[in-house]
Amino acid sequence: MALIDLANPSRFLALAGRILPWLTAATLLAFAFGLSQAVIAPDDYQQGATAKIMFIHVPAAWLGMFIWALMSVAALGTLVWRHPLADVAAKTAAPIGAAFTLQCLITGSLWGRPMWGTYWVWDGRLTSVLVLFLMYLGVIALWRTIEEPSRAARAAAVLTLVGAINLPIIKFSVDWWSTLHQPASVLRLGGPTIHPSILLPLIAMAIAFLLLFVTLHLAAMRNEIMRRRVRTLLMMQADAAAGR
């Protein structure tokens, strides 16, 4: 089956149905491995066991940004190539991206309290991620507010692309701003360079979360295709009732 066949929603549904069980199994295995590595990872000499929060915080951050990039590619697919599944991919990715960004913010906050004494600080990285979260919510709001699916898709595509251009600018501005207003003490969020015994669990968990995203995304795309079919059928029903 050629790649182009994936553009056909029916074929996509069939393929998704076949792949999902395998993806689910792979995700579970990846988490089993990743978590086991996280448990046995040695304590950081500065932060103690608290460094283990990194294994669920950093992958969430990576995914939050990666998913917006993915949505931007889908946006191009909608606007430039009019790929039929691009809309579906973009719409379903947004809530998942928002959830991972939220996870990043909350776990980061819980990491910050014992380590640096405060739940929140307006430094460059935290603030940029907060703004990213707000932009996710904005895109989701736009999807939900415009009723007609293909119009909503095109509007969301424009917003996603404008956001993609603006995110590096926001990151730069916020970093610049936080270096202006940073108090005397230097907050080092990165910590020391990562030792392999901590790097391995981190990568393992990152792969696990990535597989989780792919599984969830595929399943959500399947749901969205079904939802659109329901809409089409209901409209057919309404047309028939109106005698058209």
Partner: protein, 222 residues
């Protein structure tokens, strides 16, 4: 180009005539600046320190409120359809509308800022700095707002959504606008650095705004 000039003049006449855009914007600006001391307390030293920030946020919110007159008003009375079918490229048309919008709602805010600075105990140098940064930055706010207005044009109650979409995008402008103002007042940064970046941001939005808005309008109204 005659068509664009005509469009701009028409927009400006409408904005001034309906007693809307221009004067209401300044009034809202005044009200916001008045509200802040009620919330913070009349401590003049504190107000002086955060004065530039208050003025910038007031201008930002006032710009935001005026945005529904940018495109939605034309959509309601049908002129938007005429604009879309005109021979002039849509990108230029929306840019012209945005310029007209800024002249009637953004520029008055710039003029009002030094006067409102008096209420916040800003000295003339500070007020001048804030006004200059607003002059450079309010076009960016208008052109970013243009994108949001184009995206939400056909929505009936799109006002709040418009704000939610536009505000995160305006954060860099706000950051550098206030930073430039403060640099002029207390240093140690030279005023030029953040001011140049602010101007760069505005120039970028002058290009990105019309293109994104045109795409949004073309696709959103099919």
């Amino acid at each position: 180009m005659n068509a664009l000039a005509a469009l701009m003049i028409r927009d400006m006449r409408l904005a001034v005539r309906l007693g809307g855009g221009a004067l209401i914007g300044i009034l809202f600006f005044l009200i916001v600046v008045t509200l802040v001391p009620f919330a913070i307390g009349p401590d003049l030293a504190l107000l002086k320190r955060i004065g530039p920030a208050i003025l910038w946020i007031g201008a930002l919110l006032a710009s935001l409120l005026a945005l529904d007159r940018l495109i939605a008003a034309d959509h309601e009375d049908g002129s938007l359809d005429l604009i879309l079918t005109a021979r002039v490229p849509l990108e230029l048309t929306v840019a012209a509308k945005a310029i007209a919008h800024w002249l009637t709602t953004g520029l008055p805010l710039v003029v009002a800022a030094p006067l409102l600075g008096l209420l916040l105990n800003l000295d003339p140098k500070a007020s001048g700095a804030v006004a200059l940064t607003l002059l450079a930055g309010t076009p960016a706010l208008t052109f970013i707002g243009l994108i949001g207005a184009a995206l939400t044009v056909a929505l009936r109650r799109g006002g709040l959504l418009l704000a939610v979409l536009v505000l995160p995008l305006t954060i860099p402008v706000l950051i550098f606008g206030v930073a430039a103002s403060n640099a002029a007042i207390v240093g140690p940064l030279p005023f030029g650095t953040p001011f140049m970046i602010l101007c760069a941001l505005t120039l970028m939005t002058l290009v990105i705004g019309p293109f994104a808005a045109a795409v949004a309008l073309r696709h959103g109204l099919e």
